[in-house]
């Protein structure tokens, strides 16, 4: 099976099972999880089923095209099923069968692997799926994203397209994969691996990247304040990629590293919160008529909580005022005594 047959097969398979087949996002990202079709759509009560290819960039994994298994730019096939169906494992295994991976011929295993994305404030439990010892998929039940609990929980399936095709074609180097009849993966991507590695490790302008990071961060904040969650998320993605380039370039020390991750994470948290509020204002359109009911119910709860908070603050303020008055009168007494 050719490389393109693999993702065409997966698209058709999941499309036939109720997934929306969408296209990759138009910004650089480290994994399919960063696509708003996963990160944002996984939040909140609306059902969501989607499948797409995501070209993913990890500058630090670049190897100048010399390593047959590591790439700075590669492809993931991402599936999100929300809520996670009860037969999600069987569905997944059927998708492997569609690719010609027969579980009675190949040893398939679900091996514990908990997933976490510090920059997205997201984590989940699940497995890496092994086929004859090769990790071909990351299978995760999201528990949290953007610091928000998943309700309902979605299942995320991330297929490593190159790995699966290497497995199917029995090739030892990613560059030898047949992309289509007569065309290899190497012919399409080897040159950009070499150039991108050189750029990320040696050439990238450090100052420019730092400056852009600060600018995108500030712009993201402005966008959030203006109620433009999606635009703010674009800024978050840019920051994440700028950080990845700086990291590969060796421009970020260990201590700073943590600080930069936290900066991106803070943006992701703010976007997640803003996005959910905006969806609520729209009455959760993907829930149909139930959306209005759900949103109204939440509004009641939120209003009650807000009122409680306001009362508490008013009480606090009153106490503070009373205390100040008390102190003030104490002071005046002292003055009189003096």
């Amino acid at each position: 099976m050719n490389f393109q047959d693999v993702f065409l097969t997966l698209q058709r398979f999941w499309g036939e099972r109720g997934c929306l087949v969408v296209q990759p996002y138009d910004l650089e990202m480290g994994a399919g999880t960063f696509n708003p079709a996963t990160f944002l759509r996984s939040l909140g009560p609306e059902p969501w089923r989607v499948a797409y290819v995501e070209p993913s960039r990890r500058p630090t994994d670049g190897r100048y095209g010399e390593n047959p298994n590591r790439l700075g730019h590669y492809y993931q096939f991402q599936v999100i099923l929300k809520p996670s169906p009860d037969d999600v494992q069987d569905l997944y295994l059927d998708s492997l069968r569609a690719l010609g991976i027969d579980p009675l011929v190949h040893d398939l295993r679900f091996v514990e692997d908990d997933w976490e994305s510090p920059t997205l404030g997201a984590w989940g439990l699940g497995w890496e799926v092994w086929a004859d010892g090769m990790e071909i998929t990351q299978f995760t039940y999201f528990q949290q994203a953007g610091g928000i609990e998943m309700d309902p929980v979605c299942a995320e399936l991330t297929y490593g397209l190159e790995r699966i095709t290497m497995f199917l074609q029995g090739t030892d180097s990613v560059y030898d994969l047949q992309w289509a009849p007569g065309v290899t993966y190497g012919q399409i991507h080897h040159q950009d691996e070499v150039e991108r590695s050189k750029y990320s490790f040696e050439v990238a302008d450090i100052d420019m990247h730092f400056t852009q990071f600060d600018q995108c961060e500030a712009e993201g904040r402005r966008a959030i304040e203006a109620g433009c969650a999606m635009a703010a998320y674009d800024c978050t993605l840019r920051c994440s990629h700028l950080f990845n380039v700086l990291d590969a370039r060796g421009a970020i020390s260990v201590t700073e590293r943590q600080r930069f991750i936290l900066r991106v994470r803070e943006m992701a948290f703010a976007v997640a919160k803003a996005y959910l509020n905006l969806r609520r204002e729209l009455n959760y359109p993907l829930l149909g008529e139930a959306g209005q009911v759900k949103a109204d119910a939440e509004r009641v709860v939120l209003a009650a909580a807000a009122e409680k908070r306001a009362q508490k603050e008013a009480k606090k303020a009153a106490q503070k005022e009373a205390k100040q008055k008390q102190q003030g009168s104490d002071d005046s007494t002292e003055v009189r005594d003096a």
Binding site: P68, S84, E112, Q143
Partner: protein
């Protein structure tokens, strides 16, 4: 009639370690719940595999026995006034559901109380078990649990089916939207259809026919058997690895072990790297040839008896080849960079926020290692050289990939760079001991560096206010302290902890450690270590008598412990108890004045004390504590006579102070070894 009870929780693949814990917890919770529910039962069997957690209790009573109980209410005087029930009396009767006439009175040590004797009828087990089983399931705890779909329940992985039989009938229980039935599932691929289990006794047979071995012990034994056959066939033996065997046992429902190979050329990479690549990433067993050399073979355990084993073997070989190619690339790259350059790069690695970089730590270790070296009989220059390189491998690719190989890789890179073996070995050894019972560094250089590294971390972290709290010890300070003490004791290096800590503290310029705090922390660990060799009251008595040299304290503990077993010691106990009179004395008693003696017993004790003092002094100097104790024991007769003949707390303040001063002097002499008052009281 008693019946067997069977519960199987069918799940998506449970992590290996979680499965072990759940297999201990499930039967424990169930037995406790049955006991509480007054349901007698016989043996309990537990099973577990990646997709199931099951328990069978044989001969569970089908009926709870009646429960006769006595409920106690208010005292008679509260419940009755002149034989007529009061409001309180009526209330109690109402609460327990009887008429006032049924209240009786019982005499208790506290007086007469209103009581009610009642019999609660036992319920049939079928009525009790469902609720009981659901609460047992809910009670299972996991290290990490999760939610799925739109459910609120948490479990280790999604629950997919429940099998629950009491005898031959299904118990109607439900958890997380799953209702119990009488079917289980076989092997995910080899026998995917649901299969009926007729009765609890059939469970294992039904699964065996469906390609599942639910008993981990049986799976483990089968894996070992298969490995043994492969060992013979391929003339190589696996490197024994129980933890890996346990894990692999929990990764399959039915094992099929196979043997694969990798290209000879990869054997040029250090053995530890190959073993780590196979074990850590792939859960493969590494193999050795009869001559002890690493073989270019591995064993992996498949979870499915696939049609053609060769296909699976070739697939696994390809994966391993890719990993080993990576490892060899890293090895070559690291060699090109070299350890000296690695040491320079440590300037960019933070050790701890408040304590600066690892490079700064290394600079401190060079000084501290050289300073400690003579005590370990080590050349200071050797210690300094080893210290300079000991963290350099942290920035290598291979340690980044396999953190467990820190130190081990340092040794390889050092040897490749022509560093003397003595120094290279110390790079591995300075991480020893690993864990509580881990082996100690065999060489003097390794021991020096291990103590220096731990001391630096301990002093620095405590100085930075990072004291471990409760169960949490993120910087491993307790372990560090223990390591220092174990090495000093093992090598019998007598040294004042105060001196050690002061030397280490002087090298820290970012924090100002409190020497006393660090010494106290170390002594607290020492108390634990010594308490493994002698009763803790002896350790306490010795330690509260003072001293901060672990070796000396250990010798004193051993001497007192040995002495404690003699008859002399038993006789002395009374004497020590009498010394407690000193608790009533002022702290500043002044010197003993012979002119104020009035009674012979005073003079006798003073004379005996004088002789003993000099002799004990000599013996303690020579660390001959047992002999010192014999001398001290000789003081018993004059001390006893003193207590018999002399009124210590005399009305005359001068006499009283003088007598107390004499006793205090004797007590101080005892305390050269231990504060015996603490043992005797």
């Amino acid at each position: 009639m008693p019946k067997d009870l069977l519960l199987e929780l069918g799940t998506e693949e449970i992590p290996a370690a979680e499965l072990d814990r759940a297999m201990t917890e499930l039967p424990a919770l169930l037995i406790a719940a049955l006991g509480e529910a007054r349901l007698a039962h016989e043996d309990v069997t537990v099973w577990g595999s990646p997709r199931r957690l099951a328990v069978r209790v044989a001969g569970v009573a089908d009926q709870q026995p009646d429960l006769a109980e006595t409920l106690t209410g208010p005292p008679e005087r509260v419940a009755f006034a002149d034989g007529v029930p009061t409001k309180a009396g009526e209330k109690f009767a109402e609460k327990v559901g009887v008429s006032v006439a049924e209240l009786s009175l019982t005499d208790t040590p506290k007086g007469r109380y209103v009581t009610v004797h009642r019999v609660v009828a036992g319920e049939p087990a079928v009525g009790v078990l469902p609720g009981l089983l659901v609460s047992v399931i809910k009670g299972l705890g996991f290290r990490k649990s999760m939610r799925w779909a739109a459910r609120t329940e948490r479990f280790v992985r999604p629950l997919r089916w429940l099998l629950c039989l009491f005898g031959e009938s299904v118990l109607d229980i439900e958890f997380a939207g799953v209702r119990a039935g009488d079917t289980t599932r076989g092997h995910r691929f080899e026998a995917p259809a649901p299969v009926r289990v007729g009765s609890p006794a059939d469970y294992e047979n039904v699964l065996a026919a469906a390609a599942v071995m639910p008993d981990p012990a049986a799976r483990r034994a089968l894996i070992q058997e298969q490995i043994a056959a492969l060992e013979v066939e391929h003339e190589a033996k696996i490197i024994p690895d129980d933890a890996l065997l346990d894990e692999v046992t929990n990764l399959v429902e039915k094992p099929t072990a196979v043997c694969g190979t990798f290209a000879q050329t990869y054997l040029a990479v250090p053995r530890e790297v190959i073993v780590s690549a196979m074990r850590g990433h792939q859960r493969y067993f590494a193999m050795e040839r009869p001559d002890g050399q690493l073989a270019n073979r591995f064993i992996t355990v498949l979870g499915t008896a696939v049609r053609d084993l060769d296909v699976a073997v070739r697939g696994n070989e390809r994966v391993l080849a890719a990993r080993l190619a990576d490892a060899r690339f890293f090895w070559d790259e690291d060699l090109k960079v070299g350890l000296a350059e690695g040491a320079r790069r440590l300037e960019a690695v933070v050790f701890q926020d408040k304590l600066g970089t690892v490079a700064e730590k290394v600079t401190r270790l060079e000084s501290l290692g050289a300073a400690l070296a003579p005590r370990f009989g080590v050349n200071p220059d050797t210690a300094r050289a080893a210290a300079g390189l000991c963290k350099a491998d942290l920035v290598t690719h291979l340690v980044g990939e396999f953190p467990d190989l820190q130190g081990v890789m340092g040794r390889h890179y050092a040897l490749a760079a022509g560093v003397p073996e003595e120094v290279a070995d110390a790079l591995v050894e300075h991480y020893q001991p690993k864990g509580a019972g881990g082996a100690l560094p065999p060489s003097g250089v390794g021991a020096t560096l291990s103590v220096a590294d731990r001391l630096d971390t301990l002093v620095g972290c405590l100085g930075a206010g990072l004291k471990p709290k409760g169960g949490g010890d993120p910087y491993g300070l307790r372990r560090a302290a223990l390591g220092i003490l174990r090495i000093l004791l093992d090598r019998e290096i007598g040294v004042s902890l105060g001196d050690l800590v002061r030397e280490a503290a002087a090298l820290h310029d970012r924090v100002t450690p409190d020497v006393d705090e660090v010494v106290a922390f170390l002594l607290e660990r020492l108390r634990g270590v010594l308490s493994e060799t002698a009763p803790s009251e002896i350790v306490g008595a010795v330690m509260s008598a003072g001293g901060d040299d672990p070796v000396d304290l250990a010798r004193r503990v051993a001497a007192v412990h040995a002495f404690g077993r003699t008859d002399e010691y038993a006789a002395l106990a009374t004497t020590f108890r009498r010394m407690n009179i000193l608790k009533q004395a002022d702290t500043d008693l002044g010197d003993v004045n012979a002119e104020h003696f009035e009674v012979d017993a005073e003079r006798a004790l003073h004379a005996a004390y004088g002789e003993a003092r000099d002799r004990v002094g000599e013996l303690v100097e020579q660390r001959r504590y047992q002999d010192a104790l014999t001398v001290l024991a000789g003081l018993r007769p004059p001390v006893d006579t003193f207590f018999d003949d002399v009124k210590v707390m005399d009305e005359n303040a001068t006499l009283r102070a003088n007598r107390l001063a004499l006793l205090a002097a004797v007590d101080r002499l005892y305390r050269r070894v231990a504060d015996f008052k603490m043992i005797a009281s």
